[in-house]
């Protein structure tokens, strides 16, 4: 987590429920169903600085690759833009999705870039890289949907 937010002093776990209506809206927006285990709750970490002031958000994403889960971590600044991303665990045969040249293209992207991510996903033939793109699309959309109106 401090790899993305070196100034962080601590973090707080936030878990939010995903209601049926919200889930339907998210799945419609991303174009594929949420995975089992990710359909009812959404979890992220609020990174805090001096005096507990929030300085960003860390999301640990999991998406299906060809040989199991692809787990990666990314951070959002206060404006919701991606400021860092790295792969935490994956067992894919092709490891090109771990390369910085692939991951760095997502820096600066926000939930508003969902259309761009959908296009990238449609054109991607590699299962590992597709898992990262699908995971980002899913997490950014879910975060926007829930964090913008937690009670709704």
């Amino acid at each position: 987590m401090t790899r993305i937010f070196p100034a962080a002093r601590d973090y707080r776990t936030v878990t939010m429920p995903i209601g049926a209506a919200r889930r339907a809206a998210i799945e419609k927006a991303i174009g594929f169903p949420l995975l089992p285990g990710q359909r009812e709750q959404f979890q992220y970490f609020t990174m805090t600085g001096e005096a507990g002031r929030p300085i960003g958000t860390i999301i640990a994403a999991t998406q299906k690759g060809q040989y199991g889960a692809v787990e990666f971590v990314f951070g959002l600044d206060g404006a919701g833009a991606i400021v860092g991303i790295y792969v935490q665990r994956a067992r894919e045969r092709d490891q090109t999705f771990k390369e910085r040249s692939f991951l760095d293209q997502f820096l600066g992207m926000k939930a508003a870039d969902a259309g761009r991510l959908r296009k990238m996903l449609g054109a991607e033939g590699n299962r590992g890289r597709a898992a990262v793109i699908a995971g980002l699309l899913k997490e950014l959309t879910t975060f926007r949907e829930l964090a913008s109106n937690p009670a709704g």
Partner: protein, 315 residues
């Protein structure tokens, strides 16, 4: 043999879980593990190896997650053996640089902090090195950058034994380093010193002295995961050397090949065991099966089949 008197801990746990706090989050995990075994000269057997419920509840203050309560209740051996395998309260310092834990927790030794073979068909060697994987006491642990550490002072009784106070007394500790862009390698150095009960299959209960040093490594390389642990020292005044090696390779999207072996050398005798198996993971279950060979165990050859299901419910 079961640990009695856990009800007071459960009441305390429940009281803390209901206490008011600024922020709270948690996860409930339910597990089922059913196994069938067949060995030459013995009738085939099917048992509910374990039913388990784990609850992790985290309280946060204004700056971050602060207190974690964790309970792992298990019923094993066709529900005959019931216990809290783990039950602790942990105070987390800033970013987890230091944490103080009190209760029953997994010990900082060898592969244990990051891996357990409890739900697998082949066991790691802590039964021979420490006598158990979890114990009651105090733990200071943490992580800073690529380094992690843990130091525990515990009773030396393990989760299976009759309660006693203060118990024989065991110190364990581990220092580890993670390397690689995605944490592909983790190397650890551990020690154990003191006295503790023999493994829970031993009867009658007796304490033995333990002086052990261990080296462990976990390596993630593409589709393969390798786990290694070797320990050496003395157990009850006799030289002890152990080795565990495990290899898991994802060969198809839902299929994994599992191979593992262990060697325990004590009092001039070597005890080798090997395992070769397959894991299959449809979306709703994990099915494991394999062949087990124990050089000095009886019978030498065995087959096992396991159905394992884990539900994880964050809230």
């Amino acid at each position: 043999m079961k640990t009695a008197g856990w009800s007071r801990s459960a009441v305390l746990f429940g009281w803390l879980a209901l206490a008011p706090t600024a922020f709270a989050a948690g996860v409930l995990v339910l597990e089922g593990d059913v196994r069938g075994t067949a060995a030459r000269g013995r009738p085939a057997d099917v048992e509910v190896h374990a039913l388990a419920a784990g609850l992790r509840h985290t309280f946060a203050d204004r700056t971050g997650d602060r207190i974690t309560l964790y309970a792992l209740a298990e019923a094993r051996a066709d529900l005959d053996e019931r216990m809290f395998h783990e039950l602790y309260v942990r105070y987390k310092g800033p970013l987890g640089a230091w944490n103080a834990t009190a209760g029953r927790f997994r010990l900082p030794f060898g592969l244990l902090p990051g891996f357990t073979s409890e739900r697998l068909l082949f066991s790691t060697v802590e039964e021979h090195t420490l006598g158990f994987d979890a114990d009651d006491g105090l733990l200071v642990s943490g992580q800073s950058g690529d380094w992690e550490y843990g130091l525990a002072a515990t009773q030396g009784l393990g989760p299976h034994r009759t309660p006693d106070w203060p118990g024989p007394g065991l110190l364990t500790g581990r220092l580890a380093l993670t390397r690689g862009e995605s944490g592909e390698a983790n190397f650890g150095l551990s020690f154990a010193a003191g006295r503790s009960r023999m493994g829970h299959d031993m009867a009658p209960e007796r304490d033995v002295s333990r002086r052990l040093a261990a080296v462990d490594a976990t390596l993630y390389q593409g589709q393969a995961t390798v786990r290694l642990e070797t320990a050496a020292g003395s157990l009850g005044g006799h030289a002890l050397a152990t080795l565990y090696a495990g290899l898991d390779v994802a060969v198809r999207p839902r299929w994994e090949v599992n191979a593992a072996g262990s060697l325990v050398h004590r009092e001039g005798r070597g005890d080798e065991a090997l395992f070769l198996g397959l894991s299959f993971r449809p979306s709703w279950l994990t099915i494991r099966g394999g062949y087990h060979y124990a050089h000095t165990g009886t019978p030498h050859h065995g087959l096992a089949l396991q159905l394992h299901r884990l539900f994880s419910l964050p809230y």
